[in-house]
Amino acid sequence: MSRPITSVLVANRGEIACRVMRTCREMGLRTVAVASEADVDAPHVRMADQMVVLGPPSPLESYLKGDAVIAAALETGADAIHPGYGFLAENAAFARACGEAGLIFIGPAPETITSMGEKTAARRIMQQAGVPVVPGEYLPAPDPAGCVDAAALAAAAEIVGYPMLVKAAYGGGGKGMRLVTDPTDLTPAVEAAVREATKAFGDGLVYLERYLERPRHVEFQIFGDAHGHAVHLGERECSIQRRHQKIIEETPSPALDPDLRARMGEAAVAAAKAVAYMGAGTVEFLLAQDGSFFFLEMNTRLQVEHPVTELVTGFDLVRAQLAVAAGEPLPWRQEDVAPRGHALECRIYAEDPARGFLPSVGRLLVYREPDGPGVRVDSGVAEGGEVTPHYDPMLAKISTHGATREEAISRMRDALRRYPVLGVTTNIEYLDAVLAEPAFAAGNTNTGFLADHLASWTPDRGDRDAALAACAVAETLTPCGHSGVVTQGGDEPSLSPWNALGRFRLNGLG
C-alpha cells in the first residue's frame, strides 16, 4: 500500500509553497514549482528545482487551472501534488483528477472534500458522529394568520436553548431576524418574524438557531492516515479576526482547561473518524462563553496557521502529510502529542488598517525579516519584489514561541518592531496595537475583539522627529538624483554579484 514519493509539484505560490518545499528539500525530494506569468521570478520559483509556467497572472488562468497543473506534474515526472491552501486545495474534482492521472494528491479523499465542503452535509455527518453542532430547528409552516403551532414552537425552543435567533428560512440581510433572550418574548418574536419574512421573501417559514454572543473561534488540528488512525494535535484559538479573516492565532487557547481541551479534542477526533480522514485537517468550533462548543466547519487541508501547532508540538506537519500520502502510518499516537509552551502567529498583510483594511500594492523597497531564538517567519516575498493585486495580500506569517503566553507576546512585539517593510502599507503597527491591548494580554479574546477594542484605531505618529532625523542623514549620503552607493563598510562600493568587499588576501601556506 505504501508508495514512495520522490518528487513533489507544489500547486501554489507565496509563503505556503516555500514552506512545503523546505520540508521536501530536507527530505531530499525534488520539487517542481508552478507559476503564473507574474511570478516567474518569485521566491517559490527560486526555491524549486524546476518550474512550469501555467498562464497569465489571473488565478483563473493559472493557479486554478487544475488540468494545466496535472499536465505540469506529468511533464516533469512529479509523483505527488501538494496543493497548499486556497486555490485547488479543497477542490474535490482536482483531487480526483490527480488520482486518475496516477498522481498522489497530498490531502484527503475527494469524497471527504466534497462532503465537508457542503455545510449541510458536513453538519449532518457531524451530528451523526455525536459532534455538537450549533442547535437549530425549523418550525412548522405558519398558518394563514401567521401563527405557529405552540407545542411545536415550545419543543423546538427546548432543543435550541436561549439566547436564540429567529431567522427567515429564505431570508438574508437581517430581514425577519429576531434575537430572543427571554422565553416570554418568543411567541411575539416568531410572529413578527413570520410577518416580515412573508412580506420580504414571500414565504413565512422561520427557524430557530442558538445565538452565540461573541464566541471564540477555537479549532483543532487533526491528522489521519490510510490505516484508520486519527489523532488531534491540540487547538488553535483564532478569535482575532477582521471581516472573518484571522489575523492573530495562538495555541494553547487561553479559554481551555485540560478537561474542556480533552472533550473538544475527542470531538475533533470523532469528526476525523466519521469521514475516515486522511492527512492534515482542521475542525473548527465556536466556543460559547458558557463553555459549550459547536462544530463550525472542517477544513480539508493544511491551515495557514499550522506553524503555531508545529512550534508547540515539535512536529513537522508537512513531513507527516508526505508520509501519510505515501501510505505510511501516522508517525504519532495520541499519547505522543505533548504540546509545550505557547506560540503566537501574526499574519503580515499588505493592507491599510486605517482605511478599512484596503489592500496595498507596490514594490517592496525595504523588506527585512526579524530573526532570533523563538522567532519563525514564513514568507513568500523578497525585498525588491512587487506586491500585485492578483493574489492574496498576505506577505508573510510571523510566529513566536515562548515558555509562557506572556513570553511569546513580548517576543512577538519585539519582532514586529524589527520588521521593516516599506513600499506597501502593512498591518504591522496594527498587529502590535492588538497585542498591546490589556484585554489581549488577559486572554479575553473573542470574535468581536477588534470591533470592541480597535474600531477607532489610527496609526500612532510614533517618534516623528527621530524618523525625520534618520531621514535627513540618509538624504545627505545619497542626495536626490545622485546614485552614489554606500555599502556596509561605508567606504567601498558593493560589487554584487561578487561581494568583493575590498582587497584582502590570506597568505598561502608553504
Binding site: R243, Q245, E351, R355, G356, F357, L358, P359, S360, V361, L365, V366, R368, P389, H390, Y391, D392, P393, L416, R417, R418, Y419, P420, V421, L422, G423, T425, T426, I428, E429, D432, P459, D460, R461, G462, D463, R464, D465, A466, A467, L468, A469, A470, C471, A472, V473, A474, E475, T476, L477, T478, C480, V486, T487, Q488, G489, G490
Partner: protein, 168 residues
Amino acid sequence: MHLEFLDDDRPRPCTVEQTGTAWTVTLAEGEPWTVLSCDDGAVDLLVDGRRGRAWVARRDGERLVFLDGHVHVFRLAGAADDDADEVIVAGGPLVTADMPGKVVKVLVSVGDEVAIGTPLLILEAMKMEAEIPAPLAGRIVAIMVEQGRTVGQGELLLEIEPPAGEPT
C-alpha cells in the same frame, strides 16, 4: 548641510553635521539628534538614550521611514515627482481607486452628507472586499462608477464637496 522636508504640508528644516563617524541633526525645535551609523538602508540613532534602528526608502519625492514599528512618510521639499500631475492630495475631494478592482456595491447616493469614515463603496480586489471610507466630511456631488464596474488604479470613483469655509 541644510535640508528641508515636508511633514504633511508643514516645512521641517533640518541641519545635518558630520561629527567623526556620527552625525548630529538639528531640527527647528527640540534637542539635536545623534545618528550613529547609516548603511544598507538602516540608520541607527539615539532615541531617549537608547539605540533605535530606522529603515529608510525613497520613492520619487517621498521619503519613507520605518522606526520601532511605525512608518513615517515625508517629502523632500522641492523634489521633482515624475508623476506629480497625477498625484491627488490625500484628504482632497476626489476619491480614486487605490488599486484595480471591481465595484461590489455603491453605498451612497449623490446628495448624501457623509462624515469622515462613512463607507462610500465596497471594492473587491485581491480576493477581498474592502470598504472605501470617506476621507473627509461633506456632500457627495458626483459618483463616477456603478456596481459591477471594473476600475483601474487611480481611477476617479466619487467626488465629495466639503462644507463651505472648511479647508480641503
